[in-house]
């Protein structure tokens, strides 16, 4: 039994109970992946803001935009992702971790210690906030893959990170990776979003892009890992709605080696973006068209060349098409994209003011945050709103590619393939 990490935590959060944290009184550690094997239903609110000039803004902007949309959630989940927030570690991957207990932390850290060079490990700075309780152990790690270990795997650093995320989420009981990208981080938990924002001291961070989410789950006990945003590497996704095509979307992704451990629609959307943008190298506009396809009647009226592209996209990516009500904001290191479902069954409003692009579920958020918006509009169904920070390479997914052997391994069972892939070194 080690009390050291616990003592380290004491100054910033309330003291957790020993039964919860030590597992010594017979309390069973949850396996987070298994905790949500059922589908999570819910409605939600969201926002995204990006200054295309690259000017940083305080996380307080995001908190204010969410506070006016409080009624879109029920206090069972809120979260944020900020980009450009770690200028002192721009080239490190930053793991935001949630641990159920110290054993989970030790297990996950064993993986970090073995395969990574960790340059800073520290508890997440937090403050006591009314309404926030029962937080897991929250830590962050600035790290890079151990070059020697990496060499043996024939993987790029990004591949290595993805494998580590999958490994921890699927096999380290009680540990959950909240985010894993460079110069970004996700801050989420159970509570109203403004409470969560204050809890994580977001006003002290400055980023060029923020996305945020307010959750209204209807049939699941809120748990910290299940809050939005959902992230993979630099990408963070927040989502309002229920994807009625979840069943086939997840089966489609499973065939590409993704493992839908959370049972959430949002995770599916994140994986689909990864598949289309990174692995299949589709332009963002076309990936959006595949996710929220135009109707056949519209495609039939397109010019021949465009029609051939759209017909192929629908025929090939049909199993990945997101059907049902949704509004999604995807943040990345260089901007954000917001997308509505194909017949606009969920609200999404957009606004611009100078170089700032903002989207939200409700116009109230724009009116709260923007002094004098140049334009406020309702994006059409399936029409993406895209904001890109000038001068930043896009899309930033680095040298990420899963090898052919990994893919074929993944066909027979993702969990095993992830483990063997990491163990290769």
């Amino acid at each position: 039994m080690s009390y050291e990490p616990l003592l380290e935590r004491m100054p910033t959060t309330k003291l957790p109970t020993f039964a919860d944290r030590e597992g010594v009184f017979g309390a069973e550690r949850p396996r987070y992946a298994e905790e949500a094997t059922f589908k999570i239903h819910g409605g939600c609110g969201l926002m995204g803001i990006c200054d295309e000039s690259g000017t940083h803004m305080s996380g307080e902007v995001a908190i204010r935009a969410m506070a006016v949309q409080r009624d879109r959630g029920n206090g069972l989940g809120g979260g944020y992702a900020g980009y450009g927030i770690y200028p002192e570690f721009p080239d490190h991957f930053c793991f935001h971790m949630m641990y159920h207990d110290i054993k989970a932390k030790e297990d996950a850290e064993a993986i970090f210690d073995r395969y990574f060079v960790v340059d800073l490990a520290e508890p997440m700075p937090t403050r006591a906030v009314k309404g926030i309780s029962d937080a897991p152990l929250l830590w962050r790690y600035f790290l890079n893959p151990d070059p020697h270990k990496l060499e043996g795997t024939e993987m790029s650093p990004e591949d290595f990170i993805v494998h580590t995320v999958m490994l921890i989420n699927s096999s380290v009981d009680g540990a959950f990776v909240a985010s894993s990208g460079k110069n970004m981080g996700a801050f989420k938990g159970v509570g109203f979003p403004e409470e969560i924002g204050h809890y994580y001291l977001l006003e002290e961070y400055e980023g060029h892009t923020w996305v945020a989410h307010n959750r209204f789950p209807t049939n699941t006990p809120g748990w910290w890992g299940g809050a939005h945003p959902f992230t993979l590497l630099d990408w963070a996704i927040v989502h309002n709605g229920e994807i009625s095509s979840y069943g086939i979307n997840s089966r489609y992704l499973e065939a590409f080696g993704y493992k839908c451990t959370l049972g959430t629609d949002t995770e599916v959307a994140a994986y689909l973006f990864d598949l289309m943008l990174r692995r299949h190298k589709l332009p963002l506009e076309l990936a959006c068209k595949a996710l929220a396809s135009p109707l056949w009647s519209e495609i039939d009226r397109m010019p021949a060349e465009e029609q051939a592209v759209m017909r192929s996209l629908r025929a090939v990516y049909g199993p990945g098409m997101l059907n049902g009500p949704f509004a999604i904001v995807l943040g990345f290191n260089g901007g954000m994209v917001a997308l509505n479902d194909r017949i606009k069954l969920r609200p999404l409003v957009a606004a611009t003011q100078g170089t700032t692009v903002m989207v939200a579920s409700e116009e109230s958020a724009m009116r709260e945050v923007l002094d004098a918006p140049d334009r406020v509009w309702m994006p059409n169904a399936g029409e993406p709103v895209i904001a890109r920070v000038q001068g930043m390479d896009w899309p930033i997914h680095g040298d990420l590619h899963l090898s052919a052997s990994e893919v074929s391994c993944a066909m027979t069972g993702v969990e095993e393939s992830c483990e063997t892939a990491v163990e290769v070194s």
Binding site: S244, S245, I248, A290, E305, S312, A315, P325, L345
Partner: protein, 503 residues
């Protein structure tokens, strides 16, 4: 001794008080039930309960009843088994029958229920919103590669693979029924309906009559073990080609079309002498394993400038591995025929005891192809027997791309499932070549009824999609999360990949 120990199955009762004595029943019955002596006199033993006479009697005075003889109670030796023994003791032959397996095996479709949206996601009203059923049949690439067109748009970088797919406006096609087993007017009806519906009919193994050449874009041409009617011209007259390996009603055995059905036109279409029996061998004698199948698939593609080639198999125990091999052999679609599938003629013992349910076959094949990462390489057509739009929706949710209907299509043309197809005396003019019977189907009338049926099921499928909150059929396809099982055992649920209701 009596000639036969078997008593008639049905009793034909005529209310002579109402009877017009017009003799229409005599004229309508293909089985020769009626003779006429001042009034129609029925011979019960010939009746097959096809209801042709009942339907056409102007006085509505004919009733067909089950000849409900009491047999000594015996759950083990049911009357059907007793009659079969008597019949075979008389004939010494294999019992033949038509249509599909009628035994009371548990029907899995009837133990699956669909989901619907409530509150957290909205259902969609198909009367107000678009509800898309368009389906592409054939091989699809893993991904789409595009390049900039220089004007801010994109064009396909690697050719248009989907252009080789067949575009269907609804995920319902007609299943293969050969000219010879069914009449030319049935083929005409199917072809006309397929064209109007934007879907496909299938020649079956009897070739394509020259009259149907204009419908080439809506026809699958079949290549079966007898190779009837197969020539390069025939192959090029189809939108796709299909290698028939097996049939759900008679897996593992061949076919036999008696010489009486081979009239001049059938003979010309099948390219065999008039009046000779058309015998399809049980296997293809050039396909003794999967590598041989690959050669035939590519021979057909070479002969046609790479049109899609599908392979039809009966659903049998090892169907998943077989289907995987077929896809890897280069097939553009796999046609799975379940053990309830119909036939023009099959040994009853084969029809009723060989093969597995289509629901299971769809589930295991779809999952196997996904596990192997080749699901996109071929479409799955499911058949045998799809009885309603509910079966259709459930089959699609289990993983089928398209369903083929045969029995239901023939029922649209009047078939009453009397199971007498093999006799060649179909009173409804469907499974016969007798001119006085075949002319009973006006192709225009037949096509209209088929179009109506498919439209009706398509509308119902749209209603189901709307309730599920999706507006395109690809969002239901393989979405087993939208199915739940009621009253199926755990292992069957696992095989189907469907949770029990309540979970």
């Amino acid at each position: 001794m009596p000639i036969s120990l078997i008593q008639p199955e049905y009793k034909v009762e005529i209310d002579y008080d109402k009877c017009h004595k017009c003799g229409r029943c005599v004229q309508q019955c293909g089985w020769g039930v009626y003779s006429f002596n001042e009034r129609p006199i029925p011979d019960d033993s010939k009746c097959r309960a096809c209801h042709r006479c009942v339907t056409y009697c102007p006085a509505h005075c004919i009733t067909i009843r089950k000849n409900d003889l009491a047999y000594k109670e015996n759950e083990h030796w049911n009357p059907g088994l007793r009659k079969a023994v008597w019949r075979q003791a008389e004939s010494g032959g294999v019992m033949l029958t038509g249509m599909g397996n009628d035994k009371p095996y548990r029907n899995i479709f009837d133990h699956l229920v669909l989901d619907a949206c409530q509150v957290t996601n909205p259902s969609i009203d198909p009367l107000r919103e678009p509800m898309e059923l368009r389906t592409y049949l054939g091989r699809k690439p893993d991904s789409v590669e595009v390049e900039s067109d220089g004007n801010g748009g994109y064009r396909l970088a690697e050719g248009d693979d989907i252009a080789r797919n067949i575009q269907l406006e609804t995920p319902i096609i007609f299943s293969p029924m050969s000219y010879g087993s069914v009449s030319l007017n049935v083929h005409r009806s199917l072809a006309m309906a397929a064209q109007r519906l934007g879907t496909l009919m299938n020649t079956g193994e009897g070739g394509l009559h020259a009259d149907l050449y204009p419908y080439a874009d809506n026809v699958i041409v079949q290549v079966a073990s007898g190779r009837f009617g197969v020539n390069p011209d025939y192959l090029n007259r189809g939108a796709a080609m299909e290698i028939k390996i097996g049939q759900g009603a008679k897996p593992g055995i061949g076919g036999h079309l008696p010489g009486e059905k081979i009239n001049r036109e059938v003979s010309e279409t099948r390219m065999i002498p008039q009046g000779t029996d058309a015998i399809s061998p049980a296997p293809h004698h050039d396909i003794y394993s999967i590598e041989d199948l690959r050669q035939l698939i590519y021979s057909l593609k070479e002969a046609t400038g790479y049109k899609p080639v599908g392979v039809k198999i009966a659903a049998v125990h090892n169907v998943a591995a077989i289907a995987s091999g077929i896809v890897r052999a280069g097939a553009d679609y796999v046609y799975l025929d379940g053990f309830r599938g119909g036939t023009g003629a099959a040994p009853q013992i084969i029809r009723d005891h060989i093969g597995i349910p289509i629901e299971v076959a769809i589930a295991v094949v779809d999952q196997r192809l996904r596990d192997e990462g080749i699901r996109n390489q071929a479409s799955i057509i499911a058949a045998g027997s799809i009885r309603s739009s509910a079966d259709l929706a459930k089959a699609i949710a289990l993983g089928a791309d398209v369903c083929a209907i045969g029995s239901a299509a023939l029922m649209a043309l009047g078939c009453h499932l009397c199971q007498g197809c093999h006799t060649g005396s179909c009173s409804w003019g469907i499974t016969t070549q007798k001119p006085e019977l075949t002319r009973r189907i006006d192709p225009e009338w037949g096509a209209e009824r088929l179009v109506n049926l498919v439209h009706a099921w398509s509308h119902e499928l749209q209603e189901i999609l709307g309730a599920l909150g999706v507006n395109a059929v690809e969002s239901l396809r393989g979405s087993r999360e939208r199915l739940r099982a009621v009253g199926l055992d755990q292992q069957t649920c696992e095989i189907l990949g469907v949770k029990p209701a309540g979970l």
